[in-house]
């Protein structure tokens, strides 16, 4: 993919949208082994909390169509993303294991329409907490894994398949072992479902042992976390580590603590799809920064 600057990117995106810049400042790249790594700029799309199978006309009367519209919106980008990530709650929860599998398949059928053919999936508690990720793994593979793209090391953490929302000792050890191979200046992106920090534990918006993951990441100078779960855009810093929550593609939730009880925000017929969306993340490697473009489901 050719390098594109911000002005070109906005033109290519063609949808407008809010831009959030996240400085990374990574002058050095790569692993400790000193391998030569490609450093081209690139962009990728984050979808989150698609809740396929949700049914509630007052909340989203287009529950069957919203994800399809978002897929079409991404497909309409002139410059296709290098890849798409789904940060959990692909499906809406069900106690029925058969229906869970049907929903996962239905979700996959829809997103298979993406023009971008490299897609990474993460589980949310709605997908995985009631069977410890069994159905998810049958269809999408591992719950935690890594991949590398043009000099950026991506780490997928699973904080959803344990009903207690824990990463667990085994995964934390795996994370620590993986990080041992990284240079202190290597650009690292963590993808996960729940916030790793205590955003609002009163609404279960936290990962109980997330502080251990942040502690393991803290020695690395260029770490950014993208996550979902809270159904709204949110930006937070733990020290030098930036955490960016994405909107949902089914229903928005109120800001943390803004209402007495956590609940979906009702559909506004005057502003359909308000509060829903996805984001395009531009990694300007040579300029040492990310730009996050919040994009709507449909053009306003």
């Amino acid at each position: 993919m050719k390098s594109i600057d911000r002005r070109d990117f906005m033109k290519l995106a063609g949808l407008g949208g809010v831009v959030f810049a996240s400085g990374l400042g990574f002058p050095v790249f790569g692993s400790k082994e000193g391998k030569s790594i490609v450093q081209d700029d690139f962009h990728f799309v984050q979808f989150s909390d698609t809740h396929w199978g949700f049914n509630g006309a007052a909340i989203n009367p287009d529950a069957q169509g919203t994800l399809k519209k978002a897929v079409a919106a991404v497909n309409s980008l002139e410059e296709q993303p290098d890849f798409v990530v789904f940060t959990g709650d692909l499906t809406h929860t069900t106690d029925d294991p058969k229906m869970r599998r049907e929903r996962l398949k239905g979700f996959q059928d829809v997103v298979s329409g993406l023009r971008a053919k490299t897609v990474y999936f993460m589980a949310g508690e709605h997908d995985a907490a009631l069977d410890k990720g069994e159905a998810f793994q049958e269809r999408f593979g591992k719950l935690n894994y890594t991949f590398d793209h043009k000099g950026v090391h991506f780490i997928v953490l699973d904080n959803a398949s344990d009903p207690a929302g824990l990463l667990g000792e085994t995964q934390l050890k795996w994370l620590q072992d993986n990080l041992k191979k990284r240079h202190a200046n290597a650009p690292i992106v963590v993808l996960t479902h729940r916030p790793l920090f205590d955003l609002y534990p009163q609404w279960d918006w936290a990962t109980r042992d997330g502080a251990s993951a942040i502690k393991a990441l803290m020695p690395f100078q260029n770490v950014t976390v993208f996550y979902g779960h809270i159904h709204q855009e949110h930006h937070h810093m733990t020290g030098h580590i930036a955490h960016h929550a994405a909107k949902s593609l089914m229903f928005p939730l109120a800001a943390p603590g803004a209402v007495p009880k956590r609940a979906p925000i009702a559909w506004d017929t005057n502003a359909p799809y308000q509060g829903l969306g996805f984001r395009d993340i531009e990694a300007y490697i040579k300029k040492s920064r990310y730009e996050i473009h919040e994009l709507p489901v449909v053009k306003g």
């Binding site: 929860t93 929302g165 534990p201 009163q202 007495p260």
Partner: protein
């Protein structure tokens, strides 16, 4: 400490549960005892009123699957299991309305499973 161990063993005998299933939180185990039951997807009672500065002991049980009880404003949490009683104790040091919630995913109504602790002067 000896008295505490004896008390724990007696509780186990009274409630028919092993002593190791009794969880104690930070602070004294003496105080106003409040029993709280969890079941999908609510706590009973859903609202508890206590007084600032007075020690509280919560006795938590589940009527169905495993739940959590998390009261982050006071650093109090416990697993809530069927067939056993979890006890957490604390002394509220501020007044107001504070949310407690289930933090163990328990099904389609998990997000609705919360309650309120009211602390008065």
């Amino acid at each position: 400490m000896k008295r505490l161990i004896i008390l724990t063993l007696l509780m186990g005998l009274v409630f028919g549960i092993p002593a190791h299933q009794t969880a104690f939180g930070v602070g004294s185990t003496k105080g106003k005892v409040i029993r709280l039951t969890a079941k999908k997807f609510a706590y009973s009672p859903a609202e508890i009123t206590v007084k600032k500065g007075e020690p509280v002991v919560l006795e938590l049980t589940s009527k169905d699957s495993k739940h959590g009880f998390n009261l982050p404003d006071f650093g109090v949490r416990a697993d809530v299991k069927s067939g056993s009683v979890s006890r957490v104790s604390f002394t509220p040091d501020k007044v107001g309305r504070f949310t407690f919630a289930c933090d163990i995913y328990c099904g389609s109504g998990h997000e609705d499973m919360s309650g309120t602790l009211v602390v008065t002067e």
